[in-house]
Amino acid sequence: MIPGPFAYHRPTSVKEAVGLLGSLGEDARALAGGHSLIPMMKLRLASPAHLIDLAGVADLKGIREDGRDVVIGAMTTQHELIESDLLAKKIPILRETSLLIADPQVRYVGTIGGNVANGDPGNDMPAVMMCLNAMYHAVGKSGERRIAARDFYQGAYFTALEPGEIVTAIRVPAPAAGHGYAYEKLKRKVGDYATAAAAVLLTMSGGKVAGCSIGLTNVAETPLWAEEAEKILVGSTLDAATVKKAVTAAEAITSPASDGRGPAAYRTKMAGVMLTRALGRAKERAGA
């Protein structure tokens, strides 16, 4: 398959990239790792006249601490997330999630910025970022703003990003030391999108849930933040009855499509199963 023709641009700064996006308008697309966009271009589902490759922008790379937050450059690859000692220590759910994305070759190239900004409900990082209450740094011609992951996703491939804006970094508040975490993903095979997946962060205190955060992947047009389920769990010992109630609340906000991964009702149930498993595993990992 051969994509449509385009002009290739390789800016070396965010300013230059945003300038190009602004001046070239709707016919231009930013290119990160390209493992969503290039397949779309090969199928001619996308045919931008201009591609602005962000690979030459050094400022978009790297993982650093900034106070309590960890700031991850948008062009950081999944492979780099997996290899990062800082993330393994501070935000281990990102490593666990990255290892469940696609396959090794794709992870060498696929970026966290592309994963969160594309708006594909099948991508794994968006629900994890909602769970972590991350902020996205977006830069456009009128400067930088920060958008909460929880406010970012509006529909399939439809996000709060304005035309001409790019996500430059993801700012993740490091969860409390001793927190439990899990990302549970049901998929048919390596490289598949989730039939359903659940991200959980948990802090326990005296055997009870002190804090809990939940995100769900690929069971609606957008990733989901299961706020109601969280409220049900806080204060509980994660006893079976309370977990069941929370799972019911989480299932209630799903609206998956029926597709090759299964009928909608099945995918909703699997979201519940993934959440139950993630809660169990997060609890095992959480310090008392």
């Binding site: 398959m1 051969i2 994509p3 449509g4 023709p5 385009f6 002009a7 290739y8 390789r10 290119l31 390209g34 493992h35 290039i38 397949p39 271009m41 090969k42 591609l51 490759d53 690979a55 492979h79 696609a102 396959d103 090794p104 070759q105 794709v106 060498y108 190239v109 390596v190 490289g191």
Partner: protein, 166 residues
């Protein structure tokens, strides 16, 4: 569309060519450089038959534009054997352990296994299986592919190869 000049190292040799920006790396390698070792299998970034080593990463060359690889150092299956034709330890291992049946996936399997062993000299069977999970063998000959990679790893480390009990 105007062509762009690209310059890169392919299998140790400097290459300078003109390409359309939309030219995928797999098409460039196969049709312009006549390196037909990397195969087009699925053409949808699933099967891994087009895998090449690019700046120390295994990538699916069907999902990379040639212009993105400008300045890169690339190795394909053609660059694995020594100049005198001596097979790379992995190539030898695939032959010894019958790590191929039809052979279509083999160039991708070997280039991927090369990077895997560069990163992890002594992988467990599980690590090998995860490591090649982006490469499909439709003969389903995975057992011997894994064995070949274990054999190569043992050779590289200079330890005797011990076949796991079936």
């Amino acid at each position: 569309m105007a062509k762009s000049q690209v310059s890169m190292i392919v299998n140790g040799k400097k290459v300078e060519e003109l390409v359309e920006p939309r030219t995928l790396l797999i098409h460039f390698l196969r049709e312009q450089l006549h390196l037909t070792g990397p195969h087009i299998g699925c053409d949808t970034s699933h099967c891994g038959a087009c895998t090449v080593d690019l700046d120390g990463k295994s990538v699916k060359s069907c999902t990379v534009f040639t212009v993105q690889a400008n300045g890169a150092d690339i190795r394909t299956i053609e660059g694995m054997a020594a100049a005198d034709g001596t097979l790379h330890v992995l190539q030898d291992a695939f032959r010894e352990m019958h790590g191929l049946q039809c052979g279509f996936c083999t160039p991708g399997m070997i280039t991927r296994a090369y990077r895997l062993l560069e990163e992890n000299k002594n992988p467990t069977e599980d690590e090998i299986r995860v490591g090649i999970s982006g490469n499909l063998c439709r003969c389903t000959g995975y057992q011997n592919i894994v064995k070949a990679i274990q054999y190569a790893a043992a050779k590289i480390s200079g330890v005797p190869f011990q076949e796991a009990a079936e």
